[in-house]
């Protein structure tokens, strides 16, 4: 790498192509999750980890939690998957909002994820994964 000249930017499409596609996908998933009832067996594909091992994965109950949340049932959602309600959903909402805001307004700094957060999230997922499968922790399971 000796070139000091700035690499010309070849961007295909608008800067809104990717955020538009992601936003549309998230909206479609949200609408589908509201309309279909994930509490009903067969409404969505099973969790392969649960089906294969008999243990709950950290995401099990997540769709039911999102369904309950979007129907205004916060307590029910917390019973389904507390990590998704308290961690994943707020993180997705914050990340999406920040991303769109930074694209729309140059004064907003671009989203950054500190390294310690990137390390802490998998640790948290792993702890939740183990703890929710322990005896006596039924309230953490869907």
């Amino acid at each position: 790498m000796t070139a000091t000249e700035a690499v010309p930017h070849h961007r295909t499409g608008s800067k809104w192509t990717l955020p538009g596609a992601v936003t549309a996908s998230l909206a479609a998933i949200a609408v589908y999750t509201v309309v279909r009832n994930p509490h009903q067996p067969g409404a969505f594909p099973s969790c392969v980890f649960l089906a294969g091992s008999g243990y709950y994965c950290p995401g099990c109950g997540g769709l039911r939690a999102v369904h309950d949340l979007l129907h205004g049932n916060v307590i029910g959602a917390l019973h389904m998957n507390a990590l998704v309600v308290l961690g994943i959903v707020p993180a997705l909402v914050l990340g999406w909002t920040w991303w769109i805001a930074a694209l729309a307004n140059d004064k907003v700094p671009r989203p950054r994820i500190p390294t310690w957060v990137a390390v802490a999230i998998p640790v948290l997922l792993g702890v939740f994964w183990v703890v929710r499968n322990l005896p006596g922790m039924e309230f953490l399971r869907p």
Binding site: A43, V48, G61, W116, V119, P142
Partner: protein, 102 residues
């Protein structure tokens, strides 16, 4: 949580150290997390590819967040392997029928 001292301000980047490809690491991390949350290989494989690209970009000085890419890469592998093995076991034992939903 104990108080974590704020990370030191970013030091002036060495020549060629740019953040041009930092989005790779962020995407790898997000998709890697989703692969653990039961999306399995559908987001796990993109996380592996993007995480690998992110690590390469960091090594070439075109990204500053190779750790994010690495974490996404590992999560992608774990999610893909567990998802695939779970799928195989569930198909073999026929236990899909009795269990619903993520």
């Amino acid at each position: 949580m104990t108080e974590i001292p704020p990370p030191p301000p970013p030091i002036a980047m060495p020549v060629g150290g740019s953040e041009e490809k930092n989005s790779l690491g962020v995407w790898a991390l997000v998709l890697g997390i989703l692969s653990i949350l039961c999306c399995g290989l559908f987001t796990g494989i993109p996380a592996i590819i993007l995480g690998n690209n992110s690590k390469k970009a960091a090594a070439e000085g075109r990204a500053t967040n190779g750790t994010l890419g690495n974490v996404g890469f590992i999560l992608g592998i774990v999610g893909t392997v567990l998802g695939t093995v779970g799928w195989a076991i569930a198909l073999l034992t026929g236990s899909f029928a009795s269990i619903s939903g993520t």
